[in-house]
Symmetry: C2
Subunit: 325 residues, 2 copies
């Protein structure tokens, strides 16, 4: 096939759009990440889909200008978006005030030329695809990325392929119920006891506070903590220092997570469970507790998946966005 | 590529080995099922892997003799086996006294020639592959077959491919826990409240008996019923006639099953849930109750998979065994 664009100095652009920031990654023609930057996401009340996408395009153009790079050197642009995506179509995205479907592919081709390749993925799926392709694909075929942040993001790769499903619900395993006890918390999705609410940073804080309230001798320092990541970090810090309540809370949260992992094993037997997100910065304490709970639940330990900390961190979505271009 | 065997009158053989019978299916070169028969499985105490496989080979040879068909007309033989299979290797199979791994592929090639294609699958996976390839693949890409019999067998197809996993546990979703109540029953696998024990024919009888025992005015007719299929059939018969206890039991069993289906939706969004096994003979009452429970659990009804009765019945394993030859 004839090359459609001259590939000298050609680039791919990965864009990871979130509620608080928009990250941009510049990749060479071999999809090595060569530059990156981010901007704050300012979503004004009347900002609609078209405004936001045009603002993003302008930033890409400005970058090209600043590097004296002609826009026709852009081989492709990949988007990691915070909402359900089906066949390159983002259905909606509450965090960025994106209320209806908008044709990102057409808009991108209109702006940067019809030969520009475009890919639109859900952000958690993009992160899984990025981690898999950039760090694991030489050794493994099936993985699950689980990011433990304010919520729980998940993305599934089976036999080397991202699982998206016909309506974008596939891979959303954080809304599987794992806590059937009386203390199970209601999730934003409408269900109760989802992994999302019982194993995220927010979940960890809730569990810690519940335990603290049982034990009146300990001060509840996280009750009014607005930042779930900071709160979770402090609880993990206490756990590392041997605080029994904090360690107990971390055990309960990650036991909930291990129930999800056992379910995934029965469905498609992932070889690797990658833990990402804010909580993963705590490192081995997280993976060790998860492994301990898995061993309690699965008798044949040779069946257990590898549990590892994700490597790409904030670049995962950017990298995943360009994989299929 | 040169044809290795003359394909005139050539056949494929599918063999579905179970604890009570061994089924044989004869397929033409286009894999249409043209003949079938079965024999009782007589597993004597000292019968080992080699004895059984040779007995099976002898029956294939006898069939060829009786049809005046040369054995070199056998293009391939596929096996559906009652135990975990990895890469064409059956690890073990309790029901047929198969205690260790045995190389079925080599044994088959030794007996019928090295160009004979051989495929070994787990029986539930073979059934899923058979149902998918013979009845659904024109319209769908991802399905789950759930057979409700003495236990619950399951097989998963994602993007047209059977999911087997690296150690054969993938697709064994009947051992996912769905009942977290006090009445959850212990499963043979060692866990509690698995779909296997809470939604099978055996599970239905257990639930019915538990309800009956609460209500002392109703006679417990299934307490000593040894045949789970007959017992389940009678309960469903009562339910169809409006018996409230039987209907309640059926609702509880299929509610347990619907919890599994919701989990599968979150993982890979199957487009079709195929219900097979003895309980599926009851027809629409089964699928209607499952659909009702799914609607209660999933708000966006357009996300719901099609719930249908499997079509191939006892031929599913035979058909699946030859698909990959």
């Amino acid at each position: 096939m004839k090359e459609r664009k001259n590939q000298n100095n050609a680039i791919y652009v990965g864009i990871d759009v979130g509620g608080t920031s928009i990250k941009f990654g510049i990749f060479d023609k071999n999809k090595n990440l060569i530059d990156k930057f981010s901007i704050n996401t300012e979503i004004k009340k009347n900002c609609n889909e078209k405004h936001l996408i045009n603002a993003i395009f302008d930033i890409v153009s400005e970058y090209c200008n600043s590097k004296k790079l002609k826009e026709n050197k852009i081989l492709g642009i990949g988007f990691a978006m915070p909402g359900p995506v089906i066949n390159n179509k983002l259905l909606h995205a509450v965090n960025i005030n994106w209320k209806k479907e908008y044709d990102i592919v057409s808009a991108t081709k209109k702006r940067f030329g019809k030969n520009t390749k475009v890919c639109v993925l859900n952000d958690a799926n993009a992160a899984a695809l990025g981690e898999y392709n950039y760090t694991l694909k030489e050794k493994y075929e099936s993985i699950c990325l689980i990011t433990l942040g304010t919520g729980v993001g998940t993305g599934i790769i089976i036999n080397g392929k991202l699982i998206e499903g016909k309506s974008g619900i596939a891979g959303e395993v954080s809304h599987i119920r794992v806590d059937y006890s009386d203390s199970a918390v209601k999730c934003n999705c409408g269900n109760i006891g989802c992994v999302e609410t019982m194993a995220s940073c927010t979940g960890l804080i809730n569990i810690y506070n519940r335990l603290i309230n049982k034990d009146s001798t300990t001060k509840n320092i996280y009750r009014d903590n607005q930042s779930s990541k900071n709160g979770a970090r402090e609880i993990i810090h206490l756990a590392k220092r041997g605080d029994s309540v904090a360690l107990n809370a971390l055990n309960i949260a990650l036991d909930n997570l291990s129930k999800l992992i056992v379910i995934l094993m029965h469905v498609y037997e992932p070889e690797v469970i990658l833990i990402g997100g804010g909580m993963s910065n705590a490192g081995a304490i997280i993976t060790n507790i998860i492994k301990k709970h898995l061993k309690e639940k699965v008798f044949m330990t040779k069946l257990l998946p590898n549990v590892m900390i994700a490597k790409l961190k904030n670049d995962a979505g950017l990298c995943g966005a360009v994989v299929n271009l």
